[in-house]
Amino acid sequence: MAGDTPLLDELEKGRWPSFVKEIKRAGERSPAAKDLLGLVEKSYKEKITHWKHGGIVGVTGYGGGVIGRYADVPEEFPNVEAFHTIRVNNPSGWFYTTDALRTICDLWEKHGSGLTNFHGSTGDIILLGTQTEHLQPLFNELTEAGFDLGGSGSVLRTPAGCVGPGRCEWACFDTLDFINDMTQSFQDELHRPRWPYKFKIKAAGCPNDCVAAIARADFTVIGTWRDSLRIDQDAVREYAEKGFDIKADVVDRCPGNALVYDEKAKRLELKPDDCLRCMHCMNKMTKAIRPGVDKGATILIGAKAPILKGAFLSWVLVPFMKIENPYTEVKDLLEKIWDWWDENGRNRERVAETISRLGLKDFLKAVDLEPIPQMVKHPRSNPFIFY
């Protein structure tokens, strides 16, 4: 039974906004939120979680989108005996109208605890905590209102992308449309598990990678340009005249040594062949330097968290691909990757681990890609070659 929560009350103090305050706020209306508070306090006291392994709950027609969750002390906290989570697929770029958000709030007030995550790490809206009997009715009302569930389990997880052309001058392709199109095109793969394990697609408009695609996505799309970045010399002069140390802060930090600065003329030139498109100069001199015009993306493959064979960063698969609606080239590549991985992957084996086990050489053949130096940091140093 919920009662005194001295440990959690301590976390209402302090300047950072308090999740405890939020749980209490929801608890004024929802007995489940109130019991959640008590349950978490118990965890704080005992230093152990009180959630059981999830069960299999869901909505008709889907194999995911709902995470079953049950408390392991239901006699003490009956209102969280079942406390499932629903992932609601967010609009690209996490843009909302207040109407859309209020609709979600109203539905969630009706069917659940009133607690949410905006957002989960993959990017979905998380509706945190409801009972089994509410799942189908809530889903029915969500889809009626124009929303749908996100992915969970061995599916295509909800794709995510950066704000891109919605606000950013560095976006090298339309990340918002791309992610929306991927999500709509692959609804079946998103809702119905059929693969060895999960698969994540993330799109970043430029190599700054504000969605950590290179760290988190099996299929990473990072915007880039093939020609030379563009420099506005008038703007360069303006930076110099304002006291910005172009040589020390930009030229000397260039990883390709690709910039040359004439201090007298206040002129910045690029040697395009040496440019690594790292974004540093652009980040620091946004008024003077812009991406090139021949834009597209680099496709990388294989990022994942530690389980099972260690954490991986994505590595280069296709140095340059035009990313334009309807994204046929991307989809063709995805289908080839999925076919090979589905055929060869073991249970709970991420695509990077399958590639690691069976060899990049064989993977490249399967997806019709020729090996090129841009795919590796360096060639092999051992002579154990399967001629």
Partner: protein, 352 residues
């Protein structure tokens, strides 16, 4: 029959006018003050963004409060960032300070843009996760109460990204953060073979172990753990509920440092182990927050402009990192996984 497979609402219905009008035609941006930036379109239009921190776990009441502000000043439009911050978007410069004032009245901090600590990416922890070794929300609250000034001000000369994972599944980019706090177990699972065949697939359970520490019992109806091979990752528990390993005294957190995801200057880097174990000490985990503060202070005093933590450490060397921070280097820091040999120092280039 309910509609299915309709996907999310189209973002084109969500974006404000100024975004529609300047879509893909932005020229530059400027950070005006903590949490406030302006993007200027090729048309000359301006889009002001006010960014506010959020606890991620929020009630629908707070969502409605935020909507009230967006209705009042932003024609009913807003967005969230990939690190859970709230962003109010307006073409009207005059609205900015009122937006800030109204957000502050909700108790939300304005900041997180530019050379600052942004919001902490984190997981469910004891709030909702069966495999958590720690609580994430509590750690984040404790950490950001201590580091608040780095969110609302420009006390750094580079970005600094903090992430918290409640277990080594690391649901978020914890493995590539400047500072990462990871929940860990330090005791092997307690196998309940009486339940095993009812709730677990034995071959999957055996296959789930990264070090091959699990084998079938001689009667074939259960499993046993070779404890010297177990490093308490908990992946077996993920696939088999009959092998719990959470323990109030054994569980705690590890601190990893030096990761980054951006390609700027240096390529992306993994976070590396700094502190192998700190006990869970709710509600405020002072050992954790003290350690993070110390590392940040040393980093600020020693790093060059724009250097991310990983770049700083790479430049000065790990031996200097441990010396300057006073953190102890132990046997636990030395890799012994499949990645081990690649981490050894194959050069005489080291500092004393």
């Amino acid at each position: 029959m309910a509609k299915t497979d309709i996907g999310p609402p189209d973002y084109r219905e969500m974006i404000p006018e100024v975004v529609k009008n300047n879509y893909g035609k932005w020229k530059y941006h400027e950070i005006l003050k903590p949490g406030v930036m302006v993007h200027v379109g090729e048309s000359g239009d301006e889009l002001y963004t006010v960014r506010a921190g959020s606890p991620r776990l929020i009630s629908i009441d707070l969502v409605r409060d935020i909507c009230d502000i967006a209705d009042k000043y932003c024609d009913g439009h807003l967005r969230f960032t990939s690190r859970y911050n709230i962003e109010m978007l307006t073409p009207k410069k005059d609205n900015v300070d009122d937006i800030i004032s109204d957000l502050k009245q909700l108790g939300l901090p304005i900041g997180g843009i530019g050379n600052a600590i942004s919001n902490v990416v984190h997981t469910q922890g004891w709030i909702h996760c069966h495999s958590s070794a720690t609580d994430a929300s509590g750690l984040v609250k404790a950490i950001m109460d201590e580091l608040y000034d780095y969110f609302v001000g420009f006390k750094l000369e580079s970005k600094l990204r903090i992430a918290v994972a409640c277990c080594i599944n690391m649901c978020g980019a914890v493995h590539c953060s400047d500072l990462a706090v990871v929940g860990i177990h330090t005791k092997p699972p307690k196998v309940d073979n009486s339940k095993m065949s009812a709730v677990c697939e034995i071959p999957s359970t055996i296959a789930s172990c990264p070090t091959g520490a699990i084998r079938k019992t001689s009667d074939g109806k259960g499993v046993e753990v070779k404890e010297e091979r177990c490093m308490y990752c908990g992946n077996c528990f993920t696939v088999c509920p009959a092998m719990p390993l959470a323990d109030p005294d054994g569980d705690g957190v590890a601190i990893f440092v030096g990761g980054k995801v951006s390609n700027a200057r240096k390529p992306p880097m993994f976070s590396r182990l700094a502190v192998p174990f700190l006990p869970n000490n709710p509600p405020r985990w002072p050992e954790v927050t003290d350690t993070l503060k110390k590392i940040i202070e040393v980093f600020i005093s020693d790093s060059l402009k724009y250097e991310r933590m990983g770049e700083w450490i790479e430049r000065i060397g790990w031996e200097k990192f441990f010396k300057l921070t006073g953190i102890e280097f132990t046997e636990h820091h030395v890799d012994d996984f499949s990645t081990a040999v690649g981490t050894y120092r194959t050069t005489t280039q080291f500092k004393w």
